[in-house]
C-alpha cells in the first residue's frame, strides 16, 4: 500500500470527491422518495447543493468566548469524522495500511452523534438541551445493538478488518448481524420512527436550533456523509467479493442506493415514536436479537 493509493482513496474514491456529491445525492434521494410516496413531486435534483451554497452565503449570529469557539468547532469535527469514515470503506481491493479497520470506522461513525450532543448542550438553548438529552438516551440504547451486531460478524469470521470481512463469503449469521445494523440505521441517521433528537416543530430544531449559515451547512454536509458512510458499511458487508474494481464500485453504489431507498420508505411510512417507546424498542426487541447473534458467533468460534 503506497502513499499515492492511500491519498487517492481518501480524496477521490470512496473519499471526498466521491463522497460529497454522493452525500448530496443521498439527501436528495431521501427527500424525493418521501415526496413521491406522499404523492408530491418533491425537490429538484440539485436542491441539496443549492441549500448548501445558500447556507454558506448567510451570516451567522455573533458568538464570543470559549462557548462560541466550541459551537463553531463541533460541526467541523463532525464533518471531519464523517469524511474519514467514508474514506475508510474498503470498496477497492487493498493491501496493508490502516484503512478498513473496523474499530476505527465505528469510532468515526460515532463521533458525529457525540458532536451533536455536545453542540446542543453548548448552545445553551433549552430546545438544544432537550434534543441533546434525547440523542444521548437514544444513542445509549441503539449503540449496544449496533456494536453487538458488528461484534458478532467480526467474531464469527475471526477478523476486525473490514476488507478481510468483505472478502469472506457471507454466512446466515452475518445476514442476521446486517439485519440488526439496518434496524439501528434510522436511529443513527435521525430518520422517522426515531427522529426525536431533532423532532421538527416539536422542539424547534433540537440541537441544531442555534446554528445558522455556514455552520448549519457543515452539519447538513456531515449528515449527508454519515448517510454515505452508514449505508456504505452495510453495502460493504453485503456485497459479494468481485475481482474487477469497477464492478465492485458499481455494486457498492447500487447497494447503497437500495439501502437509502429502503430507509426512506420506512421513514415515509412511519410516525415519530416517543422516547420511552424508542428506547424500549431497542432494549427489549433488538437487544435479545443481538445477544443471540453474538452468543452463537462465540459458540461457533470455540467449537470450530
Amino acid at each position: 500500500m503506497n502513499l499515492i493509493t492511500a491519498l487517492a482513496r481518501l480524496l477521490i474514491f470512496p473519499g471526498l470527491l466521491f463522497a460529497i456529491p454522493a452525500a448530496w445525492f443521498f439527501l436528495w434521494v431521501e427527500r424525493k422518495s418521501v415526496a413521491l410516496m406522499q404523492g408530491r413531486v418533491g425537490p429538484p435534483f440539485m436542491q441539496p447543493f443549492f441549500d448548501f451554497v445558500k447556507l454558506l452565503s448567510k451570516t451567522t449570529p455573533p458568538r464570543s468566548g470559549i462557548a462560541g469557539a466550541l459551537m463553531r468547532s463541533w460541526p467541523l469535527i463532525a464533518l471531519a469524522a464523517a469524511a474519514g469514515a467514508v474514506g475508510l470503506l474498503p470498496v477497492l481491493p487493498s493491501s496493508g495500511g490502516f484503512e478498513g479497520d473496523l474499530i476505527l470506522l465505528l469510532a468515526l461513525l460515532e463521533l458525529p452523534s457525540m458532536c451533536i450532543i455536545a453542540a446542543g448542550f453548548s448552545s445553551r438553548s433549552i430546545f438544544g438541551e432537550i434534543g441533546s438529552a434525547r440523542e444521548a438516551a437514544l444513542s445509549v440504547s441503539y449503540n449496544i445493538v449496533f456494536l453487538l451486531a458488528i461484534l458478532s460478524i467480526a467474531a464469527s469470521q475471526h477478523t476486525f478488518r473490514l476488507d478481510a470481512l468483505a472478502a469472506l463469503p457471507s454466512s446466515p449469521l452475518r445476514l442476521l448481524g446486517i439485519l440488526a445494523i439496518i434496524v439501528c440505521l434510522p436511529a443513527k441517521l435521525h430518520l422517522n420512527p426515531f427522529s426525536l433528537p431533532n423532532a421538527e416543530q416539536e422542539i424547534y430544531a433540537g440541537p441544531m436550533t442555534e446554528y445558522a449559515g455556514p455552520e448549519l451547512a457543515m452539519w447538513e454536509l456531515s449528515h449527508g456523509l454519515e448517510w454515505v458512510a452508514a449505508t456504505g458499511l452495510v453495502a460493504t458487508l453485503l456485497a459479494p467479493h468481485l475481482g474487477a474494481w469497477w464492478l465492485a464500485a458499481l455494486v457498492f453504489i447500487a447497494l447503497s442506493f437500495a439501502i437509502v431507498l429502503l430507509l426512506s420508505a420506512v421513514a415515509a411510512a412511519t410516525a415519530r415514536l416517543a422516547i420511552d417507546t424508542s428506547v424500549r424498542f431497542y432494549w427489549q426487541c433488538t437487544l435479545i436479537f443481538a445477544v443471540l447473534a453474538i452468543s452463537s458467533a462465540l459458540f461457533m468460534r470455540y467449537r470450530l
Binding site: 427527500r31 415526496a35 406522499q38 404523492g39 408530491r40 413531486v41 418533491g42 425537490p43 429538484p44 440539485m46 436542491q47 447543493f49 443549492f50 441549500d51 451554497v53 445558500k54 454558506l56 452565503s57 448567510k58 451570516t59 451567522t60 449570529p61 430546545f127 421538527e200 416543530q201 422542539i203 424547534y204 430544531a205 441544531m208 436550533t209 442555534e210 446554528y211 445558522a212 449559515g213 448549519l216
Partner: protein
C-alpha cells in the same frame, strides 16, 4: 468571485426556507400556509422548506394582526433570522389589521415594527397566492445578494417600502 456571487444568488432563489410566525391570527392564514406544503400545492418543488428554528430561515412569514403581546416576539424573531432575510406578510391582517382595526389589544399593522417585503392580501389568501408571494420574496433575496449595499440598507432602515403585491386569485 463574480461567478460565485451569481451562483449564490441563484441558490438563494432556489432554496427559500421559511419560518412561520403567528402574531394573533385567527388560524385561517396559518392553515393556508400549511396547505401550500401539501401534495396538492407542493411548494417543495421550489425548494421551500418550513424550518423549525428562525436561525435556519431566510424568509419570515408572519400572519395575524399583531397583538400588543406579539410585538416583542416579532422583534426578537426578526432579529434571530440571519441575513440576508425577507419578510412576507400573509393575509389582510398584517397589512391593515383587517376586521380587527381599532381594537385596543392591537398594535398593528406589521409594517410599524419590521420592514415587510411582500404582502399577500386575502382573508385568508389562497395557497397559490402564498406560494407566489414566497417566490417573489426569494427573488428579492437574490437581488439583494447581487447588491450588498442594499442588504445593509434593508437591515438598517426599519420601515422599508412595499416591494410588490401579489394579487388574490378570484
Amino acid at each position: 468571485m463574480k461567478l460565485w456571487r451569481r451562483l449564490v444568488c441563484y441558490a438563494r432563489r432556489r432554496s427559500p426556507w421559511l419560518f412561520h410566525m403567528n402574531s394573533g391570527s385567527c388560524n385561517g392564514c396559518d392553515i393556508e400556509l400549511v396547505a401550500a406544503l401539501t401534495p396538492r400545492y407542493d411548494c417543495e418543488q421550489l425548494g421551500v422548506r418550513l424550518e423549525g428554528s428562525p436561525r435556519h430561515a431566510d424568509i419570515l412569514c408572519i400572519t395575524g394582526p399583531v397583538t400588543k403581546n406579539a410585538v416583542g416576539a416579532i422583534r426578537t424573531v426578526y432579529g434571530q433570522v440571519c441575513g440576508p432575510k425577507a419578510v412576507v406578510a400573509i393575509g389582510s391582517c398584517p397589512a391593515t389589521t383587517n376586521v380587527f382595526i381599532d381594537s385596543r389589544t392591537l398594535d398593528g399593522p406589521l409594517q410599524k415594527h419590521v420592514p415587510v417585503d411582500v404582502f399577500v392580501p386575502g382573508c385568508p389568501p389562497r395557497p397559490d397566492a402564498i406560494i407566489q408571494g414566497v417566490a417573489k420574496a426569494a427573488a428579492i433575496l437574490a437581488e439583494r445578494g447581487m447588491n450588498p449595499a442594499e442588504t445593509a440598507l434593508a437591515i438598517a432602515t426599519p420601515t422599508r417600502g412595499v416591494d410588490s403585491f401579489t394579487e388574490e386569485r378570484p
